[in-house]
């Protein structure tokens, strides 16, 4: 009997482990390394209406136990994702979460409406937290009214449940979470990256061509755990936790904080096999903790 299967709105998962959006492309690269059907779900890279090249390079910089990225939502555009990437992913028995982005409200609506009709897209992840684009992104994710409005409009057009991806760059994450829950969100994804910067001492300029970037990796895990802990007590919709997950123990920590599933981002770059490795390791970690099913852990630190 599985210790790992999870049912979340729209997502019937073999296990609660998924690669995080933007850290796994559309799966093709990792598909060469292992069977993607092993994953609980896949959050695909942010999709916008139009093709985007993204920001100039350098787009990544290393930090202590973390990294900064300013990819700038590069993606081949909605039509291509629908006609190619999602079709390719149909080869696998794994639910897809489509990460939806845009500059204007209408963009979000267009992407959401169309992509939610794709056969293997089982949920949307509303990216109102990308710190690396001039318009849209984080601007929608730091104001509760704007975020609710967008959530409502997307809910109206989406054929599948909608998870809202929250930005940690806010004073009151609970306020944001409660606002989007009221607006109809079916779940939350948290956290996106923390806004950060590194400066090249010789060039006297930020290392990233974009200046700022989003901080991810183990460095941010304590902030993510704190936010999941706070938010999970204030809302009744499930949370996909993320931020620095790289081991099965990290997954347990997020569940105890209040997450019902976990996404793995940066760790894929350090070890491309990290997701299947975590999935293989989890049952024995649960055994050690005398847990029969991973769902018993949800919110265990405050329940």
């Amino acid at each position: 009997m599985s210790k790992l299967n999870m049912e979340l709105p729209g997502l019937s998962m073999k296990n609660p482990i998924m690669p995080a959006s933007g850290c796994f492309g559309f799966g093709q690269e990792y598909g060469k390394l292992y069977d993607l059907s092993k994953l609980g779900a896949i959050a695909i890279k942010a999709t916008t209406v139009e093709t985007r090249f993204g920001n100039p390079t350098p787009r990544v910089a290393e930090t202590s136990s973390g990294m900064l990225n300013a990819i700038g939502l590069q993606n081949p555009g909605l039509e291509h994702v629908l006609g190619n990437e999602l079709v390719w992913l149909e080869n696998y028995d794994v639910p897809i979460i489509a990460n939806v982005a845009g500059s204007k409200i209408e963009d979000y609506i267009e992407v959401a409406e169309k992509i939610s009709k794709a056969q293997n897209v089982h949920a949307l992840e509303l990216n109102i937290s990308c710190p690396n684009v001039k318009e849209g992104g984080i601007a929608f994710g730091t104001n509760p009214e704007v975020a609710s409005e967008l959530t409502k409009l997307v809910k109206e057009v989406s054929d599948v449940p909608v998870y809202v991806k929250l930005s940690p760059n806010v004073t009151d994450i609970v306020e944001m979470a409660v606002a989007v829950e009221k607006a109809g969100a079916d779940g939350l994804s948290m956290i996106n990256t923390l806004l950060g910067m590194r400066i090249d001492l010789k060039k006297r300029k930020p290392i990233l061509a974009n200046g700022f970037g989003g901080l991810s990796g183990p460095a941010v895990k304590p902030v993510a755990i704190r936010m999941v802990h706070q938010v999970s007590q204030a809302v009744s919709i499930p949370i996909i936790g993320m931020g620095g997950v790289s081991t099965a123990e990290d997954v347990v920590e997020f569940f105890l904080a209040g997450a019902s599933a976990v996404a793995v981002g940066t760790a894929n770059f350090v070890d491309p096999f990290v997701c299947p490795n975590i999935i293989d390791k989890l049952p024995s970690v649960l055994d050690e903790l005398e847990v029969t099913h991973i769902s018993e852990l949800i919110g265990g630190s405050w329940k």
């Binding site: 060469k32 090249f53 993204g54 973390g66 990819i71 491309p272």
Partner: protein
Amino acid sequence: MIVANMEIISQRKIASDVYELVLKGAELVNYATQGQFLHLKVSEGTDPLLRRPISIAKIDKEKGELTVIYRAEGKGTSMLALKQAGEEVSVLGPLGNGFSLNGTKRGEVAVLIGGGIGVPPLYELSLQLVSAGVKVIHVLGFAGSDDVFYEEKFTKLGETYVATMDGTYGEAGTVIDVIDKKGLSFDTIYSCGPTPMLKAIEKSFPEKKGFLSLEERMGCGIGACFACVCHVKNDPTRNAYKKICTDGPVFAIGEVEL
């Protein structure tokens, strides 16, 4: 492409801050080719977090060994330089598309132009070109006399010119200066080195065909994160792109924007 722990067979300093590292013990050696690179994790923990891309300098399939040459500069490479024979390094690879051997026919002349720490991948390339019957000329540029390495090894394979910017060794000046001065003639160009050097090559020999190996800061190294993209030449949409980690690091001259 696999992830494997490889054993350090030897590590030695071969120039100022430059180390030659020989690794053994993974099947990836069997299918590595010239111009591909490895993504190395220099420590077990999260500091430093990311892997480091380092080109393959030599492939010894019989012994099952790979050689890489790197400059110990920042945190990760400096830690790598402290490792000793017998220790292990986690390797992801082989990655990328290396140098194609098809561009130059048996009997033709290829010039291999290396700049500083761009020199290493040219070594395995030269070995391969020579065994394919191509005549090779090497033009290797370094900052100064302390930075020069592998001159002898290249000399064994073909004509070799060394240029130093400060004139402390070989010819004074850039690699382009040397080619001009010596009046070298060749059919194709293969180059790896700093972007300004690659740009100068494109500009100086507009009619020549060949291949350039590029560098960019990387995340995944396998094509998934979009950290390492570059624009494609003559693309009015500005949306076309190549990933240096998977489409490159080697591109045909004129294919991408430098």
